[in-house]
Symmetry: C2
Subunit: 228 residues, 2 copies
């Protein structure tokens, strides 16, 4: 069996897949693609993913993109822990419901704010327009509020019920991204704060291992802020 994971630990779904495979004790070949060096734009990688994004997998020659599609494939191939993506039809439907909602319900808004506030100034050297940024911020806060009240705060321990699943892992990795954009959702949303801690603990030591670079950036920012 040969499984290759193409990833960059700066990418949220890449981290989720990395943690998922490590937690499931699944052997895989680590194929790091450095987004900051533009390695995803190389012709060699275009042959793996025509959209030139991470993550992607190569399983015995079968190449697949899109993190959610990858998770489902790995589950069918029995390469990840069943408890994290249950086979029971109704339980699986509850996980799927979140996985489909999150694309536009949460991910889009967190990622766009991260891009505007953190990435674009680095890549293009400009300060974001305050009015535009405010719009992105409001949409992110609304998405986080929906997540906090409509997915968490429903009386269950985790997103899809009382058991932890890939839905929690994907969401947790998504939220980490906002911290690099100088915003910590746990400061404003109590259900998120409580749930996030449990998810991190469950997936440790791999959760922290996958967030080493992200945490370095966050700590560096905190130190700079303390100096001002």
């Amino acid at each position: 069996m040969s499984l290759k994971l193409y990833y960059d630990l700066m990418s949220q779904p890449s981290r989720a897949l990395y943690i998922l495979l490590k937690t499931s004790k699944c052997n895989f070949e680590q194929k790091a693609i450095d987004l900051r060096k533009g390695e995803h734009y190389l012709e060699e990688y275009k042959a793996i993913n025509r959209f030139q994004l991470v993550p992607a997998i190569d399983h015995n020659g079968f190449i697949l993109t899109e993190s959610v599609a990858i998770i489902k494939y790995l589950a069918r191939e029995n390469l990840i822990l069943e408890s994290l993506y249950p086979k029971d039809s109704k339980l699986q439907a509850r996980v799927d419901e979140y996985l489909e909602w999150q694309h536009i319900g949460l991910r889009l808004h967190c990622a766009m704010y991260f891009r505007q506030k953190y990435m674009d100034p680095i890549l293009f050297g400009h300060t974001p327009d305050p009015k535009t940024l405010e719009g992105y911020f409001k949409r992110m806060e609304k998405a986080l509020e929906n997540f906090d009240t409509k997915w968490l705060g429903n009386g269950t321990e985790y997103i899809a019920g009382n058991s932890i699943t890939v839905a929690d892992l994907l969401a947790a990795c998504e939220l980490e991204q906002t911290k690099m954009a100088y915003y910590n959702p746990a400061d404003n949303f109590s259900n998120i704060a409580k749930w996030w801690k449990k998810v991190r603990e469950h997936f440790n030591p791999y959760y922290d291992e996958a967030h080493v670079i992200v945490n370095k950036i966050i700590n560096k920012q905190a130190k700079l802020k303390a100096k001002i």
Copy 2:
């Protein structure tokens, strides 16, 4: 067995589910939710879908939202034709890959242009800002170009290979929406034009049945244009 579908034929994924169930000869109770009358905002519907969106299903008391999650659930419950959502792991992965990509890759951009160009002027009575609209238009055209070249035009008959699947149905229903915003993707993208015709023919008479209201709007617009 009791299956209820909550839908509005003005909603793209609602139409896809309607056509899918009809094509699969699956009996279901039609629960029309009129978005234009704001029926999705009623407390009664909030109990079905806390996000107050369509479509949703109620299968023997099990309520589920999110069209892609619903399709997968219906497939596991053997309520839809297996050929449209194959059980084979790799074939299913190819369908999933598109279903996950389309949220932000295609649907977001087509839906946002439709909203800016067609819906918001009706709902709020204002003419869209030309510069803002141009931005939405460009993003939609880029998304359509990606769809035309990277999902179609790969030498296969359909999105996920040489067999028609739910991926094609979902995409076709999505594109119909843009026609109401005075834009026909088939005029500019040859792979789309060729593929779209085949999808419509495959799913007829249900495809046209689900698009009666959409087509009425498009025809009315064409008549008004001819008069000018």
